[in-house]
Amino acid sequence: MLGSGAMGAQIAALLAGAGAEVWLLDLPTEGPDRNAIARAGWKRALAAKPPALYLAGDARRVTLGNFDGDLEALRAADWVIEAVAEELAIKRALLEKTAPHLAPHAILSTNTSGLPVAEIFAWLPAERRRRALGTHFFNPPRYLHLLELAPLADTGPEVAAAIKELAEKRLGKGVLVVRDTPNFIANRVGTFSFLRAARAAVELGLSLEDADALTGPLLGWPKSATFRTADLVGLDVLAKVVENARRRLPGEDALYQLPGFIVEMLRRGWLGEKSGQGFYRREPAPEGAGSQVLALDPKSLQYHPRRRSELPALARAEALTEPGARLRALLFDAPADDRARQFLWRSLGELWLYCAAILPELEATPETVDCALRWGFNWELGPFELWDAAGLSATLQYWKSAGRTLPEAVRRLEAAGAATWYQAAPRRQVFDPARDGYRARRLPAPRLARAELLRHNASCSLKDLGDGIGCLEFHSKLNTIGPETVELVTAALADPPPQLRALVVGNQGAQFSAGANLLLLLLEIEAENWDDIGLAVERFQQMNLALKRAAIPVVAAPFGLAIGGGCELMLSAPRVVAHVELYCGLVELGVGLIPAGGGCKETMLRAAAQARPGKPADAYEDALQAAFEIIARGQVSGSALEARQWGFLDGSAAIVANRDRLLQEAQSEALRLAGRGWIPRPAETAPAAGATLRARLELGVHLLREAGWIGAYDERLARTLARVLAGGDAPAGARLTEEAVLELEREAFLSLCGEPQTRDRIAHMLKTGKPLRN
């Protein structure tokens, strides 16, 4: 890795996490530490939030060095990535210096957000050009899915393919091979979108808050919307990308002009988050604790406390749930002089036309552009998908009536008699203007959407993935688990459709599962339906037990959040294939409860399994104490690798880097297990650690409370947890059946349900999404 700036160091961290030995080089410095620059850059990457590394220990795979002193690193490397400043001359000078030292087989790449790769490498000898290409990682590279690959005209196809495969399988990226056009695809479209929104806001006299309200979750775009995103990216970076487009897209230079107020902000050094202020600024609240966010007034360049947007059309649209319906309400149903309506036509409408217009130049289909924006900017729907959702024909009608000339691609679509960019039936296809017709989609898309539905209810479905593998798919809000899910999963395990040989528990929603449905629980608590709660808990326990001991292989495929009941389900599954970005934990104490879906039981069993090789009692107690502390603190893993360190994933669990491949890998695993001949897991017993360990755990929390770190109810909850994990009042060393531990869990859970503090905690979590410390 040449260059230890934010991108270089964080890509190095990603590669190290994937198992590569990385040399991170930067300019040499005078003085005792020649690698001071690389060291400083690496230190910043290690401090990055969210973390750049999966595990702190991965840092061992990174060796620091400098461009002058570490030529042997260049000679040894298989892949040399240049990621220095976005200046053609700087990149070229460094590459010219390093290229002669590379091994013949080495692949050389330049990482850029949109400089011309051909120019960066123009001087390279032809045989080296075969093994050179451009990459564009998005920031932060661990978390943003997109990687644009821009091969040179003479890059060997095997070279691009090798990097693509490595990036997809090992780094988990969604790779798009793009043409070497200015700013490639995602930044080209994203920058245009930003400029249009900024200009429309100024023209219509909308505040930044208004513009962000119209370009955020309303459209399925991130909460940071337009201006907060720009603050995060940095206005200087943004200005460079705009300048690059202005200089290199001669016909479009009029489109790539920064509004005057942004030019002034740049002059003042208001670059966003990195300089402490940009379109927004955070400052201590005038009174008391916390901080408040100020927003910039583009006219006066003064900051004022951020206001909620009060555009009338916005409130109406927000009442609708589906993005398409919201868009239609704003674009067509709002009065013609409504400013929100005009804003969207001038920003999103222009974005659609622009995207259609540049398709030929990008040599891309709408599918590629949509993927670029979904993967690189976290949009739920790309521009063409949004366009279809808003109603393509109606928008065309609108422009035609205004006398607007439509792009060639749109004319071709109409000429072909098509009315949408995508069609689902008879096959999943996308309109390709270059071919004047639809063609099969090529990029990964939700598999489950295509799978045959076998059974379903409102929260959960059983689908046929093919090859005799069924998938239990959750699709409730945040994939929480309620009675419907429990019922369907239980039935599927008890009586699987005959064609199924194995099951996968997985979905392609935003999170694997946020746990039990707390709203239902709160209603039952308020109605004091203790028996019903007890029964529901028991059914969930029995479901997890059935999952664990199933007669056919069951593979859980968790990703993202797998917390509370979602984590217990994962712990119960006989086999797990997890996405590397797995944030799992037993966080029940945060809502005044303890794990009661087998979470305590599995924690004991795993501690016992970890302890087996050592001196039994001590090792078991230590493992159990470590697990107790994780649960009592409500800790959530930062990655699947950390979950494995904690024992939340066992030795048989597989970790998959690419989320788009997760279900497929889980399916392959299920198939392998079924093919090999499945032996159902036997009933187990968990050792009771006994009263002394329980007292040790309780003393720890008691002292935390005495020291003012936790409250009285936190202590009560942790002591309740300690009691269950120690095996209740059973003598130390006694072996408890799984059912006996489940009963302890249930009793403790029910006793807590009756406490007002627990009720308040649940209500607070439902209202704010944050735990209450009462």
């Binding site: 002394t692 329980r694 040790r696 309780e698 003393l699 002292l703 005495e706 020291a707 003012g708």
Partner: protein, 401 residues
């Protein structure tokens, strides 16, 4: 009753636990070193030691693991002491070393010719509370203060007495100033014995390529806890170490440490036979109990008992070694026992010099004897608070006046 005389003493420099020079050294090795040194310094011939040395008594506050079993016996064997000398380990937490001295004194007065009292603790090797705390469930439920952590008892004391963060930090700064001055003047040189030991060659989280390259030689010659750069600003910037909103910090609490100390006591006939000039003698020793949550005030009652037993008045005590478990605790004891701050911890206390729990009582007695001799002063009071709610106090007389 016969008389007992302290004829020789030796202690290791106090090492900083966790990161210090003694962090990889077994506590039984430290104890063996001071046992052998005390015997050697006494000038008693080996055959006399074989005949006369009856007991080796060491205090240890967490007597388990590397300082477990009967660490006094193991250290005596490791030091090559005659097998005829018996050994025992005693535990009165922070007073263990003084307790061992009192027991050795009693042994000689009851007729033994020679006995050793001392103490040892490696807080690097055995954490405070031990590796596997196993509290009594009934006590935890009904009397949890029995297990209250020491830092929290200090916070309670701060609350009870109104002693503030500034006073505690100022006290800590003065303790450092005195300790650094004592070290600069080499005032501890005579009593200490350097430790030749070894340390891991690299941090534990760096993988080791060759097991043989895992060690490097190390030597500790001086107490290493006092921090030369300590300033009022630095102390004020430290976060609370125990209570979330507390006044006790790592800077105004005693430092966790490693060390060992031993004193050799002899009977009057033996003294005469070898024409020895004793360092001093223990005039009186007393202990007292108090509520566990107020353990820091334990010395107040113990001091008056010890004075009464020795038939002395507080004013007669030329020097006072008050173990600084916590600065707030030391300030409270000074105020409540009416001690003269100018005579208390003239060479700094545990806040600066460290507090190797089981060793401390013996360490303070040794430092007291050497300082009394240097000043040609006669009486010294050694006192400390004890976890679980106790205090201990001993009165020493300098016989080299």
């Amino acid at each position: 009753m016969n008389a007992a005389y302290i004829i020789a003493a030796a202690r290791t420099p106090v090492g900083r636990a966790g990161r210090g020079t003694l962090r990889a050294t077994r506590p039984d090795e430290l104890a063996a070193l001071v046992l052998a040194a005390a015997l050697e310094r006494s000038g008693i011939p080996p055959e006399e030691a074989r005949r006369g040395l009856e007991d080796v008594i060491l205090g240890c506050a967490m007597p388990e693991a590397e300082q477990g079993l009967n660490v006094a016996r193991l250290a005596a064997l490791r030091a090559g002491l005659p097998v005829e000398a018996a050994a025992m380990t005693v535990n009165r937490f922070c007073a263990s070393g003084l307790e061992a001295l009192a027991l050795a004194d009693a042994r000689v007065r009851a007729g033994a010719a020679l006995a050793i009292g001392g103490g040892v603790e490696s807080m690097s090797r055995v954490p405070m509370g031990g590796h596997r705390p196993s509290p009594n469930p009934w006590l935890l439920e009904h009397y949890p203060d029995a297990y209250l952590s020491m830092g929290l008892t200090a916070e309670r004391l701060a609350e009870e007495t109104g002693i503030g963060r500034e006073a505690a930090d100022a006290y800590a700064l003065e303790s450092h100033r005195r300790a650094l001055a004592a070290l600069a003047a080499e005032r501890f040189r005579e009593e200490t014995v350097a430790v030749e030991t070894r340390l891991p060659a690299q941090p534990a989280d760096e993988p080791l390529a060759h097991p043989a390259a895992g060690w490097r030689a190390a030597r500790l010659e001086h107490d290493e806890c006092p921090r030369a750069g300590t300033t009022a600003e630095a102390l004020a910037a430290l976060p609370p170490a125990f209570h979330a909103r507390g006044k006790v910090t790592a800077g105004n609490a005693s430092q966790m440490s490693d060390g060992a100390a031993a004193l050799l006591l002899a009977s009057e006939p033996l003294l005469r036979r070898h024409q020895l000039h004793p360092l001093g003698r223990l005039c009186a020793y007393a202990v007292a109990g108090i509520e566990p949550g107020r353990m820091g005030l334990g010395p107040v009652a113990a001091i008056s008992r010890a004075l009464e037993r020795a038939g002395r008045r507080l004013q007669e005590m030329d020097l006072i070694e008050l173990n600084e478990a916590f600065a707030v605790q030391a300030i409270a004891v000074i105020a409540q026992a009416g001690l003269d701050p100018a005579r208390v911890n003239v060479n700094g206390g545990a806040v600066a010099l460290g507090h190797p729990l089981g060793c401390t009582g013996a360490r303070l007695a040794i430092s007291m004897l050497y300082e009394l001799r240097r000043r040609r002063a006669r009486y010294g009071l050694v006192t400390m608070c004890v976890g679980g709610g106790m205090g201990a106090a001993g009165i020493l007389e300098n016989l080299q006046i």
